[in-house]
């Protein structure tokens, strides 16, 4: 019998990190239950957190962190040239994430505040997701990156198929798990317009959604703001809540 959808060879993968807390990469090392199964299918050729070697080309490059300096731009171009498939790992890489909050202020002010009189040594750019500079094939969202989504993307790539890109909101996963809505517990939650794929992990443990996976396609942001203010936030608080992870994609959401 021919094995027509099962993978035939190991894929060469590499990990890189840009401006980030490296939490996503550590999260990946936390895949203890799965890591041996994963290693059956891959050959890791570059992973700073776990090894020192370097390679010339990769089937899949997983990249964590935002682009925020001119050096980052050069490096990401170099990685893109050597990677058949490039996957953004975690919010910083996929949507700009927390880093992009700095974009809401003039870049020179930010540089001054952070580096003081040494600022001339540290050129800086507005924080950007990888897709602002290079073509990104797939994204694994979340802060830190969502393990269920990582496994989903990983398995798909190992099988040579396109991973599913979730575009429904977190509410769907909450309802499938029959969670009590956090709005009914007096909280405000960004689940209604945040991209699912995390299995509603935060609401399932009583923590409201902070929007770390980015907004769904075509989000009705004004309606979401109304929801937040109707449930007790001031307009300013509501805007801040939405911008926490989504400053890059939606910098002028509320102007």
């Amino acid at each position: 019998m021919t094995t027509q959808t099962a993978p035939k060879t190991k894929i060469k993968i590499a990990y890189f990190d840009f401006t980030s807390c490296e939490g996503c990469q550590l999260n990946k090392l936390n895949l203890e239950n799965h890591i041996l199964d994963l290693l059956e299918h891959v050959e890791i050729v570059e992973f700073r957190e776990a090894m020192d070697d370097k390679a010339d080309s990769y089937d899949v490059a997983f990249i964590e962190g935002s682009i925020s300096t001119p050096t980052c731009v050069e490096r990401i171009h170099d990685i893109r040239r050597r990677a058949k498939i490039l996957v953004a790992l975690g919010s910083c890489a996929s949507i700009g994430g927390i880093n992009a909050m700095k974009n809401l202020q003039p870049i020179e002010d930010v540089r001054e505040i952070v580096y003081g009189e040494d600022k001339y040594l540290f050129p800086t750019l507005p924080a950007m997701p990888l897709s602002a500079i290079v073509k990104v094939d797939y994204e694994i969202h979340g802060c830190p990156m969502s393990i269920p989504e990582f496994l989903q993307v990983f398995k798909a790539l190992a099988m040579g198929k396109a991973p599913i890109k979730p575009d429904s909101p977190v509410c769907v996963e909450c309802k499938l798990r029959e969670n009590e809505c956090l709005f009914d517990r007096g909280m405000v939650c960004l689940g209604p317009i945040t991209r699912s794929g995390c299995d509603a992990i935060c609401p399932s443990f009583g923590q409201f959604c902070t929007g770390c996976r980015g907004l769904v396609p075509n989000p009705n942001k004004n309606a979401m703001l109304d929801i937040l203010t109707d449930h007790g936030l001031s307009l300013q608080e509501a805007e801040k809540r939405l911008l926490l992870f989504n400053s890059y994609q939606h910098p002028d959401t509320f102007k």
Binding site: T2, Q4, T5, M159, K161
Partner: protein, 281 residues
Amino acid sequence: MTLSTQEHNPRELYYPEMAEITAIKQYTELEKWYEITLPGGRDLEHQPGQFAIFSLFGIGEAAISICSAPSKKGAFDICVRKVGMLTEKLHQLEIGQKIGVRGPFGTGFPVADFKGKDILIIGGGIGIVPLRSLINHVIDNRDDFGRLVILYGAKNPQELLFPDELQKWNDDPRIEYQVTVDQGSPEWQGNTGVITTLIPGLDLDLDNTIAAIVGPPIMYKFVLMALKSKRLPDENIYMSLERRMKCGVGKCGHCQINDSYVCLDGPVYHFPDIKNLPEAI
């Protein structure tokens, strides 16, 4: 309340039958033709215009039209454009490999009612695929029908499907075949322009002509307008609509247009039935 599950065969809904790919032809960069053989060479027993749901384990399912006529025995054909997860993987398969089949599903062309009529085929792009089933049915039962007029439009000459058969249609004295492409090439000597440009020149026996239309969503409106100005009665028009399908059996809800399930009531519709159906055309 007592509900019985005895009357029907539970296998039929979501369990596929494993069928073998017995021939493959690559037509274009995106389109491949497959001959599929069910276990024991059993016939699919479909009607022209019907579809089946094909699956690969680990990849998923997709609804694909059958493009051979019921008169082809022992196997059936599909022609697949690489557009999604399943079709992408399907394109990598080779002769001898197996795929899951559920079906046939839906309502096809009511060919028994077409007997004695002139058949006008209007196919745009991959719309020619489900129409090939009807064309071959007419060819294989040639004396049951009147004229066979085929209008086929594609974006460019490279995207024309079934090239070997197009030549046969062209050479057959009992087929009136016309083809046009939106954009020609240096070698292309045929018509250029959208498919509707072929309609005004037709000489039709209006009361005795059945038009069968399949094409991209944008095409229907313009073809219908052109047929209207030819004064072809609405009752003589049939068309096949594409929608997202998951279950194929009228449950999952994805293919619904208003109160109509495309997987049950379609994909082939009699135009008067959907003329006033919002969101249909």
